[in-house]
């Protein structure tokens, strides 16, 4: 990474729910783009710089095959931004960030997330905490009144009082913060 440029965030698209037998996981298939947000200092305006990254991935079907490659990209820093039209669909597939946190409760090995009035979810909605090991991703989840209920992992980690999660509902997703 050139001096002065720093990586701020990785922006993931709405993941697909992938069910293999009894195990549910989340991921992407075929061609996929991952976005990165960078900050560039003012003195680098209108300059060409190169970013190099090592990419590691795991492609799974019957077998999981690991892959690794080095990618290089040249970018021109500018004081104006323009979205490449060929990526506009993809930008529409990024989770919507909810400003107001949601309240969660742990009861009888279940996580119950109380949804705010503006969030109308279907029966297909699923919650995916970013911290792995909180809920059992493979277990059924259900809408109970205005709450989304998920089973805790049999060997769940210590659950923080505040954690980030994704709520996926059909092809939409919401980036949320949950307070217990």
């Amino acid at each position: 990474m050139p001096k002065g440029i720093s990586l701020v965030d990785t922006v993931w698209q709405v993941p697909e729910i992938i069910q293999t037998d009894e195990i549910i996981s989340y991921g992407y298939h075929h061609k996929h783009y991952i976005f990165y947000k960078f900050t560039v200092p003012d003195n680098l305006e209108n300059q060409i710089f190169e970013i190099t990254g090592v990419v590691k991935w795991l492609a799974c079907k019957e077998k999981c095959l690991p892959g690794k490659d080095t990618v290089k990209i040249q970018l021109i820093s500018s004081n104006r931004s323009e979205i490449n039209r060929s990526f506009s669909d993809i930008f529409g597939n990024i989770p919507v960030r909810l400003d107001n946190p949601l309240r969660g409760e742990i009861k009888d090995n279940m996580l119950e997330v109380k949804l705010s009035g503006s969030l109308n979810l279907s029966e297909k909605a699923r919650i995916i905490p970013y911290l792995e090991g909180i809920i059992d991703n493979s277990a059924a989840q259900s809408m109970q009144g205005s709450s989304l209920v998920a089973r805790l992992d049999a060997f769940h980690v210590e659950i923080p009082k505040e954690f980030k999660a994704l709520i996926v509902d059909n092809e939409k997703a919401y980036d949320v913060v949950i307070f217990l």
Binding site: D21, C60, K63, C64, P66, E132, H156
Partner: protein, 203 residues
């Protein structure tokens, strides 16, 4: 009468096939659910027969790159050797269903075990996946430690770096080694649960 007999026969058959009686699923700090499985040589092993010894359960699939990472590097064999020499029972369990990835013919299992110079006590075959489900085994590898009183004292990953890269092994904290080391020294296990990583178990 005929239908009643049919139901009874079905229940009896179900018990005979699974060898896993109605038990609660495995939980940390609780008695580890008992099971009986047959190994690759046709020998039956019952978990409760190992009471009085530490037992390690290692979910395995020789075709999984995460498992290969630990066998190609000999990391797993070194752990198996170190701890079985101290009296620990090390059971590798394969819960791949017939026809699924990782379900290998017995000759192939023996060949690969020999090539890898494995040091586990036994390679157990769990074709029905009942034991895997009883322990909520999600990945290969997925590791469990049971103490001499039969209590589950560790469940989770083999180590702290979730990759298929052998070079990461040295940099990683090995949770199994840490937990066994503490337990064998008479100390409480400081990290009882971690998140396993690897290929999904092919039930």
């Amino acid at each position: 009468m005929n239908s009643l007999f049919g139901v009874f026969a079905l229940i009896a058959l179900s018990f005979a096939l699974t060898n896993v009686f109605a038990q609660n699923k495995a939980e940390i700090d609780k008695p580890a659910p008992d099971f009986e499985l047959t190994d690759v040589n046709g020998v039956k092993h019952k978990l409760s027969d190992f009471r009085g010894k530490y037992v390690v359960l290692e979910w395995i699939n020789f075709n999984c790159p995460f498992v290969k990472k630990h066998y190609d590097s000999k990391n797993m064999q070194k752990l198996q050797d170190k701890y079985t020499q101290q009296g620990v029972i090390w059971l590798a369990i394969c819960s791949s269903a017939p026809g699924k990835e990782g379900h290998l013919p017995k000759d192939e299992i023996k060949k690969r075990s020999e090539n890898y110079k494995t040091k586990f006590t036994a390679y157990l075959i769990d074709e029905s996946g009942d034991v895997g489900r009883l322990y909520s085994a999600k990945t290969t590898p997925h590791m469990y430690i049971i103490d001499p009183q039969g209590t589950l004292i560790y469940a989770g990953a083999i180590d702290s770096i979730r990759s298929t890269d052998k070079a990461d092994i040295e940099k990683a904290e090995n949770y199994v080694s840490k937990a066994l080391g503490e337990a064998l020294a008479g100390k409480p296990v400081s990290t009882k649960v971690t998140q396993p990583y690897g290929c999904s178990v092919k039930y």
